[in-house]
């Protein structure tokens, strides 16, 4: 790796700092009684309503159908994720310093695996919330589950839920892309 490539690898690692400041994923819900929209954003360490009280109001609606309360404090993944990105940033910087392109491949591999693990975890989380319903809930629709889509839109009773990656996710993709390019270039040298 030449100096230019080292700098680019360092950029790939450092840009992940941005993930701490923007949402990674977003779930929006549309319903006739919410013309102004309601939804939540998942960040590296939290789940927040898009508007100030959205999470409270979503939980309020969920209690009718027996969904568990979404409580960011009780979701362990949100405690771990900041460290995972911290690890990626530091290890990426080390690789940039050492300048061994094979390590980039290793770094990318771990990154992709973590990303896949994250999506799987997110799916399981959604499955759990959508399926494990309180049987004493006021509204029980036979056969109905409320798992949000992993990606894309899904009609859940009168609510159309849309789940999409947010800026943090695209920053991660860009970081991977830059690291891949650095690896590709330096391999050819």
């Amino acid at each position: 790796m030449d100096t230019k490539e080292k700098i680019w690898m360092a950029i790939a690692a450092l840009m992940l700092i941005g993930v701490y400041f923007v949402p990674i994923w977003s779930i929006s819900m549309d319903a006739p009684q919410y013309p102004e929209g309601i939804g939540m954003n998942i960040t590296v360490d939290n789940i927040q309503g898009k508007q100030k009280n959205d999470l409270k109001n979503i939980n309020g609606l969920n209690h009718y159908i027996g969904m568990k309360e979404i409580n960011p404090n009780s979701i362990p993944e949100l405690k771990v994720m900041p460290y995972i990105f911290g690890f990626l940033i530091i290890s990426g910087l080390v690789i940039a310093g050492v300048g061994n392109e094979k390590w980039i491949l290793f770094w990318l591999g771990i990154f992709v695996l973590l990303a896949i693990a994250g999506l799987v975890d997110f799916y399981i989380w959604g499955y759990d919330y959508g399926h494990n319903l309180d049987s004493s809930a006021p509204i029980v629709v036979p056969g109905m589950t409320y798992q949000p889509p992993l990606i894309g839109s899904k009609q859940l009773l009168n609510i159309n839920a849309t789940s999409l990656p947010h800026i943090g996710f695209y920053i991660s993709l860009l970081s991977m892309g830059i690291a891949s390019t650095v690896w590709w270039k330096s391999k050819k040298d």
């Binding site: 009280n53 109001n57 309020g60 006021p138």
Partner: protein, 658 residues
């Protein structure tokens, strides 16, 4: 009262009206129907918003009606001077104080003239002020939450009719007494004297209420006036900024059968008041601090949304006989009613209700006459200017019984003619009538959005008619009043729409929706709820006994109360339900009603706390429930209170779910 007076005074002239039509010339639009494209012009598609919010005083219902324009749809009614069961205003412990006066709790008012706050002579969407005639008061309604936020009583006044008109930057809201009363000049006391001593003893007052940036009102000064009846007002603007104009009738100072005895003089007066100069005098400590006990009631969500009352004992009174240059009389023919200043601030039009012309005074000529001391005399120590010296012109053939004028900002004025039931459009410069349209029937005020400001939205005009008959399905002897929306965007006025209004609206004002919508409150932040008895989570819900007072700290959220089972209440207890709505979602109020309670329900907005006082009279189990359909499980939103006999020892207990 005003309506009655107008009716009794003017109906005898109705017969003359027919003849009047012949000699004055027929109205150009002979029909009362509307044009074929009218429906399209007032149609607001489902989900779309009206262009304007219209605020219509409710007259004897004491409230403020909010209407969308051009659709004429009734949007909401804001309770102001009357107890209102819709949301418990004036019934709940938090709002009762709003209706406190020196006459005690007054649960009803006669609301007349809504007036939007202004900045730089333009409506600004902060507040609407409204006067109460019967028990003299002025209210300030916040347009952020569409709630009455403050009510101040006007002391030394006996009928607050010429009110509530604002100056171009809302420096002041003015108020003048309709009825003069015997007032001792030493202590402003309403005296026990013979009514026929009117001329020697009766006096009137004109008050100026200072408005702070946050809205707080206080009476800065009052001006002691001759014992006339003061009717209406408007503030000067542009070149006439710093002045306010008040019409008066009964310059004869009659005290009985005014329909004859107050109609004798060929001219009454417009009182021109230099409020800027008067304010200076007040600031210098001129005049006298005199007794003037009055209440100021205010509600403030920063202070928990609980209305507080303060009593103010004194008021500064200025005597225009001693303080030169603050009041001049402009002679104006025959019992003038409305007084309206055009958007440029140069002309002052009066509605001489018994006059066959509309007199228009020129402010520039008035100033010149004052400069030259061109007085025709003095009236009880106040200089009277020369009619001919100050006249800009007289509008000929303005219809019979001209009352009120508004302006379109394009050089035209529009005046309602009460007796001949029409609106007459005239050119302000030439004082010539250019158009007229029949209205149905007997219009009092009229309104153009921003029509008394320096920048009217001269697109629509609303005629506020006093009689409805024939316009809608008949309802029995009493029918509420009608408003008519008229297109004034072209050369010819065109009738677009009839819509009924509640009570007897007097004046109305309107503002573009854009100036209000964005600042609209959707709910109250529960974290900012500083109510001393708020319950901010279900965990805090509880019942506490304090002697024979029981305080229930209750929460509501879709679809349950906490607690919903209460025992240990006894006959003879005073039970206070302090209900906090925990919702933080737009448009999810919850209601609260207890069987047999002697007040109204509560309607608690999201994040708000309200208190219902209940005195159970007999043992048993009493249900309570939510009155506002809040969710699919609204019907299940209920609970019970067990009431035991007075001397039983049932302990306080309560359930907050399993």
């Amino acid at each position: 009262m005003n309506k009655l007076l107008k009716k009794s005074l003017l109906w005898p002239l109705a017969a003359v009206a027919a003849i009047g039509f012949l000699s004055v010339g027929c109205s150009s639009n002979g029909e009362f129907g509307s044009s074929s494209d009218a429906a399209e012009k007032v149609y607001v598609a489902p989900g779309e918003h009206d262009e304007f919010y219209g605020f219509f005083s409710g007259g004897y219902n004491g409230q403020l009606g909010v209407y969308g324009l051009p659709s004429g749809r009734h949007i909401y009614t804001i309770p102001v001077f009357s107890q209102t069961p819709t949301n418990g205003y004036g019934y709940s412990e938090e709002t009762k104080s709003m209706l406190q006066t020196t006459d005690g709790f007054v649960p009803w008012g006669d609301a007349h003239h809504p007036e939007l706050s202004q900045t730089d002579g333009e409506t600004d969407g902060r507040w609407v002020f409204m006067n109460e005639n019967n028990t003299p008061r002025v209210a300030r309604v916040g347009l952020d939450e569409f709630k009455t936020q403050e009510i101040i009583e006007i002391p030394n006044s006996a009928g607050n009719h010429a009110s509530s008109f604002v100056t171009p930057n809302t420096e002041y809201v003015s108020a003048a007494t309709r009825f003069s009363i015997p007032m001792d000049e030493k202590n402003m006391e309403n005296m026990d004297v013979s009514i026929d001593s009117y001329k020697e003893n009766f006096k009137g007052t004109i008050s100026f209420i200072k408005v702070s940036d946050k809205g707080k009102m206080n009476i800065d000064f009052q001006i002691m006036m001759p014992g006339f009846n003061y009717d209406l007002s408007h503030a000067g603007k542009g070149p006439s900024h710093g002045w306010s104009f008040f019409t008066s009738y009964n310059s004869e100072e009659a005290n009985t059968m005014l329909e004859i005895n107050a109609s004798r003089n060929d001219k009454d007066y417009i009182a021109a008041i230099n409020w800027e100069k008067a304010a200076e005098y007040a600031k210098q400590g001129k005049g006298k601090m005199m007794p003037g006990k009055h209440y100021r009631n205010y509600i403030d969500h920063e202070e928990g949304g609980v209305a507080k009352s303060e009593v103010i004992e004194k008021v500064r009174v200025l005597d225009p006989r001693k303080l030169e240059g603050i009041v001049y009389f402009l002679p104006t023919p025959k019992s003038p009613h409305g007084v309206d200043v055009d958007p440029t601030g140069q002309y002052i039009a009066a509605g001489g209700k018994l006059s066959t012309v509309i007199p228009v005074h020129s402010f520039a000529k008035m100033e010149e006459a004052i400069e030259n001391k061109d007085f025709e005399g003095k009236e009880q120590g106040i200089p009277v200017l020369n009619y001919d010296s100050i006249l800009h012109g007289e509008v000929e053939n303005p219809g019979l019984g001209p009352l009120h004028t508004e302006f379109d900002g394009k050089g035209y004025a529009y005046t309602t003619a009460f007796i001949s039931s029409e609106i007459v459009k005239w050119d302000i410069e030439t004082a010539e009538v250019v158009d007229r349209i029949d209205v149905y029937y007997s219009p009092g005020h009229l309104m153009i959005p921003g029509g008394d400001s320096q920048n009217p939205d001269g697109k629509y005009l609303v005629a506020l008619n006093k009689i409805t008959k024939d316009r809608y399905l008949p309802t029995g002897p009493e029918m509420f009043h009608s408003a008519q929306l008229i297109d004034i965007s072209g050369d010819k006025m065109k009738l677009l729409l009839d819509f009924p209004t509640e009570g007897e609206p007097h004046y109305a004002q309107a503002i573009t929706a854009d100036k209000v919508k964005e600042r609209q409150k959707r709910f109250y932040e529960i974290d900012d709820n500083n109510h001393p008895r708020a319950t901010k989570s279900e965990k805090e819900a509880r019942v506490e006994r304090d002697g024979n007072e029981v305080h229930v700290y209750m929460t509501t959220i879709r679809s349950h109360f906490a607690p919903d089972n209460i025992e240990g209440i006894k006959v003879g207890d005073e039970v206070y339900f302090h209900v906090t709505n925990l919702e933080q979602d737009w448009d999810v109020p919850h209601g609260f009603a207890v069987k047999g309670a002697n007040t109204s329900e509560l309607l608690i907005m999201p994040g708000e706390t309200l208190t219902l006082k209940w005195e159970p009279k007999k043992p048993g189990v009493v249900p309570f429930y939510c009155t506002d359909f809040c969710s699919a499980l609204h019907q299940e939103m209920q609970g019970y209170v067990r009431v035991s006999p007075e001397n039983s020892d049932t302990p306080i207990s309560y359930g907050t779910g399993e």
